[in-house]
């Protein structure tokens, strides 16, 4: 319902305000997502591929602090797989009996270990730009997963007359059109375990869906429960309506 409303509005606004939008990011084109709509549910295989992209590419720069390794069970990973994924990263723990902090492999109960110990280190590693935490990215930008997809596939050569400073990249999907993130994905940037052809489009789509899951892990449960609640309410309200008619019959 939000989409069609927004679309109608957008069509009007875009038509009226194209010149005024130079500084805004272009409206992201709506994509077909398995999780959209009342009956929408995540495509587990896609989320798994998306996680692979995150793990191999994005997590070199971006943190995802609100998601714990144990949450990956939602994507269909087994307990052992999750243990192995977590154990790849070292995290600080302590103090131990001697009062010292120490490094240990991460456990399923730990949250995803960030690539940098703090924001300053993250900036220092990225030409002064801070790669934002990706846990809530699709909820924190208008357009959600559509926006992330448009951003990842939107890198282009700057048009004539536009100079892009060193360390910046031209991307019309981004507000201001210049982003400090180098294009993170290209054809074949990953090799999918499930044999899916890893085009840039496919990779971007998968990781966008994965980010949507990271932001709204409850979506599957929410939609499933919602349908039951709605059915119940429709029947209940219809029954109340019938009783109301009967009770009021003698007043009119």
């Amino acid at each position: 319902m939000r989409k069609s409303l927004l679309l109608a509005l957008m069509a009007g606004l875009v038509a009226a305000a194209v010149p005024a939008m130079a500084n805004e990011g272009a409206e992201p084109a709506p994509q077909n997502w398995a999780f959209h709509g009342v009956f929408g549910q995540y495509d587990k295989a896609q989320l798994k591929r998306g996680f692979q992209v995150f793990r191999e590419v994005c997590s070199n720069c971006h943190s995802m602090k609100l998601v714990a390794y144990r949450n990956l069970a939602d994507l269909g990973f087994s307990d052992d797989e999750i243990k192995d994924i977590a154990a790849e990263k070292q995290t600080q723990d302590g103090p131990n009996d001697q009062g010292d902090m120490f490094q240990r492999p991460a456990r399923p109960s730990d949250h995803i270990v960030p690539p940098f110990p703090n924001d300053q280190a993250a900036r220092a590693g990225n030409n002064g730009a801070l790669p934002p935490d990706l846990s809530l990215m699709t909820k924190a930008r208008p357009g959600g997963a559509d926006y992330v997809f448009a951003l990842l596939t939107g890198f282009a050569d700057a048009p004539a007359g536009v100079t892009v400073p060193d360390g910046m990249y031209y991307n019309p999907a981004f507000p201001g059109h210049q982003i400090a993130m180098p294009p993170p994905v290209a054809d074949e940037s990953v090799t999918y375990a499930d044999g899916t052809k890893a085009t840039k489009d496919q990779i971007s789509r998968d990781v966008s869906a994965f980010l949507n899951w990271a932001a709204e892990p409850e979506l599957d449960a929410r939609h499933a429960l919602g349908i039951k609640v709605m059915l119940f309410l429709f029947v209940l309200t219809a029954m109340i309506y019938a009783v109301k008619k009967k009770i009021w019959a003698d007043v009119h």
């Binding site: 809530l136 924190a140 429960l225 709605m230 309200t237 109340i240 109301k244 009770i247 009119h252």
Partner: protein, 415 residues
């Protein structure tokens, strides 16, 4: 008081000592209600239902929430991710605020259309407006709690307005902040007040109902009840009708909770608060937007603040401003049209409030703010010059006639 006799001995025993059952019978069962109330009369009980939902979901949220600038944002996300059905609780509360305001706005405009603020219901109207004011305070402080970017910057912008008040303005703002900017003390006092005020609202609603049951309900014809033929007992007629309203409201409200829970939310509030980064557009929640538009339409800060508060306070004076003795707009041809213009003006102001204050929005904001305030003196003039249509003799007559003519249902009395 306890003159009623009950068959059940235990009930009778309690009632002789504490007449709750007599009161229930008097105010919720036998209570004589005009027989012609239309569906616009459902929104009071619906607002009450929303208040209860807000209290219950809020109390459970508060068990998991942490009012500290370093933890608040993550604690809300922990509710969403780690508390059993925490996402449901939070979305119920978040969307509940919206639907509470929708009900209350319809309720207020219903009162405006049918002249429910006129004698003898002035106190009832004022209590309602006080509830509305406290609700706005509650919602404003609630929005601060998740400590996202708009929580922080919205709080900063709005609390800063108080500095415009001469002499005491700075002290008031410092008191609100608990320091020299929006920070941890602000969050703590807002949480405390956000927990307290809903109970104040609850008490005010009780008084609102006492006043209602003293003057009795107004009705779509706006004429007084003349006798028993004009009324029906509250139960079962209005209990079932109110229940039907609850069913429809729940379908809409829960539809958003389950299928588009962030429809009314701003994405920017999912970015944790950062005092060093000002978001490009700072917008309050939708229910404040018309007043936000009025605030920004006045070039002077103090003037803007006065206009914004004045836009609400002026409603307290309606019983005197409106010079017409006829209550219902049904019989007031000119007022009826001006009412719809005023309503549309409020919606347009809401849209303007949601846009950045640039370009065409600035003059538009001014024009529609002037229209807003012009409504009130106009109301006085209309009452003097308008020739109302003849009023029916009683409530019972037209209703019974319609019934005999074979109308199964009285149509929703709208315009």
């Amino acid at each position: 008081m306890s003159s009623t006799k009950f068959d059940n001995k235990v009930v009778q025993w309690v009632d002789d000592r504490l007449p709750i059952f007599s009161m229930l019978k008097h105010d919720a069962v036998d209570y004589p209600t005009p027989r012609n109330l239309n569906y616009w009369w459902n929104f009071g009980s619906l607002a009450g239902v929303m208040l209860v939902i807000m209290l219950l979901s809020g109390i459970i949220l508060a068990m998991h929430y942490t009012p500290n600038v370093n933890l608040a944002f993550t604690s809300v996300e922990r509710i969403m991710r780690d508390v059993n059905y925490g996402w449901l609780l939070r979305y119920l509360h978040m969307n509940g605020g919206t639907w509470f305001f929708i009900c209350v706005y319809i309720h207020i405009f219903r009162g405006l259309y049918y002249g429910s603020y006129k004698a003898p219901r002035e106190l009832l109207w004022w209590l309602g407006l006080v509830i509305y004011l406290v609700m706005m305070g509650t919602a404003f402080m609630g929005y601060c709690l998740p400590w996202g970017q708009l929580s922080y910057w919205g709080t900063t912008v709005i609390t800063n307005l108080f500095t415009a008040i001469p002499v005491v303005g700075d002290s008031i703002t410092t008191l609100l902040w608990g320091g020299f900017s929006v920070d941890n003390p602000t969050l703590n006092r807002f949480f405390s007040l956000h927990y307290l005020l809903p109970f104040v609202i609850f008490a005010l609603v009780f008084l609102h109902l006492v006043a209602l049951h003293t003057t009795k309900s107004n009705n779509p014809l706006g004429i007084d009840v003349k006798g028993p033929q004009d009324t029906i007992p509250f139960h079962p007629y209005y209990t079932i009708k109110d229940l039907l309203g609850v069913g429809v409201l729940m379908i809409l409200y829960l539809g958003f909770v389950f299928f588009d829970p962030n429809f009314f939310a701003e994405p920017t509030n999912y970015v944790p608060a950062n005092p060093l980064v000002t978001p490009p557009h700072i917008v309050p929640e939708w229910y404040f937007l018309p007043f936000y538009a009025i605030l920004r339409s006045v070039p002077d800060k103090l003037g803007g603040v006065l206009a914004m508060f004045g836009a609400i306070i002026v409603f307290f004076f309606l019983p005197w401003i409106d010079s017409s003795k006829v209550r219902s707009a049904t019989f007031r041809p000119i007022f009826k049209q001006v009412f719809w213009i005023f309503l549309i003006d409020c919606l347009i102001l809401g849209y303007i409030g949601s846009q950045p204050p640039e370009g065409i929005m600035v003059p538009l904001g001014r024009i529609f703010s002037v229209v807003y305030f012009a409504f009130f003196p106009l109301l006085w003039v209309i009452g003097k010059v308008e020739k109302p249509r003849p009023l029916p003799n009683s409530i019972a007559l037209p209703v019974l006639k319609a019934g005999q003519a074979g109308h199964a249902e009285k149509p929703l009395e709208k315009a």
